[in-house]
């Protein structure tokens, strides 16, 4: 993305080392002359309504049927990969430190904060199973799920792809992600499983067989699902 001087974030330029910049007036810069919105990291943002999300997902569903889930996942995957590169750049600039040397939880929180400001919801990373090669991400207030409401199945494929793409780039290993519990299934929050492809495929299979998030967690912790 090419940034023009008009759309460069002025507050950021003025205080390049300011870390607490996630309030609306700090994080976003409205450029009325250009009809654009720039965020703290000089990325262009677009405001959308819930109708837009519904229109996008239902339109896609009508066009390609069940493949819409795979398309949204792929969109998220590419987004996550691209965003990880952007993130590495601005993290290093803001903290004068390589992301690879930073404390992991700090790094992850720093990555997700812009998403919170943009309305994608809050998250919680559960690393307790990392030594077994998988981890869980809990997402609260998913923009997609809260828009679609209770439809009885997971709908946050975009997020699953985003997590897979971001972690694949950051970890430098091919990782996959699946939503195993969703607000749109009547749950209070969404839950994602991140890990190697074999494991995620196993989880997808168990879900098709009727397993819920708890069943999947139990089976994974028992060593099922491959390495």
């Amino acid at each position: 993305m090419v940034m023009t001087p008009e759309t460069v974030h002025r507050r950021h330029q003025k205080s390049p080392k300011k870390h607490n910049h996630y309030a609306l007036k700090d994080f976003f810069q409205f450029n009325p002359d250009h009809g654009t919105i720039t965020d703290w990291n000089d990325t262009r943002n677009v405001l959308t309504s819930e109708d837009f999300i519904i229109g996008l997902l239902e339109g896609l569903q009508e066009e390609v049927g069940d493949a819409s889930a795979a398309i949204m996942y792929t969109v998220g995957l590419e987004w996550g990969k691209f965003d990880s590169l952007q993130f590495e750049r601005w993290f290093e600039k803001e903290f004068s430190m390589s992301p690879r040397r930073a404390n992991l939880m700090f790094l992850l929180e720093t990555w997700w904060w812009p998403f919170i400001s943009q309305g994608w919801g809050r998250w919680e990373v559960d690393m307790s199973d990392r030594k077994q090669g998988f981890m869980f991400i809990n997402l609260f207030d998913s923009a997609v799920a809260r828009t679609l409401g209770d439809v009885g199945k997971p709908v946050c494929h975009l997020y699953a792809g985003l997590f897979a793409g971001f972690f694949t780039e950051m970890v430098r290993k091919q990782l996959s992600c699946i939503e195993i519990q969703c607000y749109s299934m009547g749950e209070t929050y969404c839950k994602f499983l991140l890990g190697g492809r074999e494991r995620i495929d196993a989880a997808a299979f168990w879900m098709n067989e009727g397993a819920n998030a708890r069943d999947i967690e139990k089976r994974l912790r028992a060593g099922e699902g491959g390495a």
Binding site: R101, A102, R172, K173
Partner: protein
């Protein structure tokens, strides 16, 4: 000053019994709840009074149960045993976990 020293030097006035009590015993003896309590009989200590059968019969249910050391240990003024540091488990990422460390978990 010298008069005071003379008056007390080598003289041991009657020491009040509570001054000899341990912190634990002292604090246990305080009627913290402000309720009337049954006086401990002379045959037992403040911490573990022993009542004869006749005395037991005079207690109310409340007094009787109040004297029981239900958890087998006094609850007031007990020195706090330092908590054992929780063993490092897989549940909590260590503070210095980096991205490279994390990468190694994914075969």
């Amino acid at each position: 000053m010298s008069a005071t020293l003379t008056a007390t030097n080598g003289h041991s006035p009657a020491v009040q019994p509570w001054l000899r009590e341990s912190v634990q015993t002292f604090f246990e003896g305080v009627n913290w709840s402000g309720m009337v309590r049954h006086a401990a009989p002379s045959s037992g200590t403040a911490a573990s009074p022993v009542l004869d059968t006749e005395s037991l019969m005079t207690l109310t249910v409340g007094q009787f149960f109040e004297m029981m050391s239900w958890e087998g240990k006094p609850t007031i003024g007990v020195p706090i045993v330092p908590l054992e540091a929780p063993a490092t488990t897989a549940d909590t990422p260590s503070d210095d976990l980096t991205l490279d460390d994390f990468s190694s978990f994914f075969g």
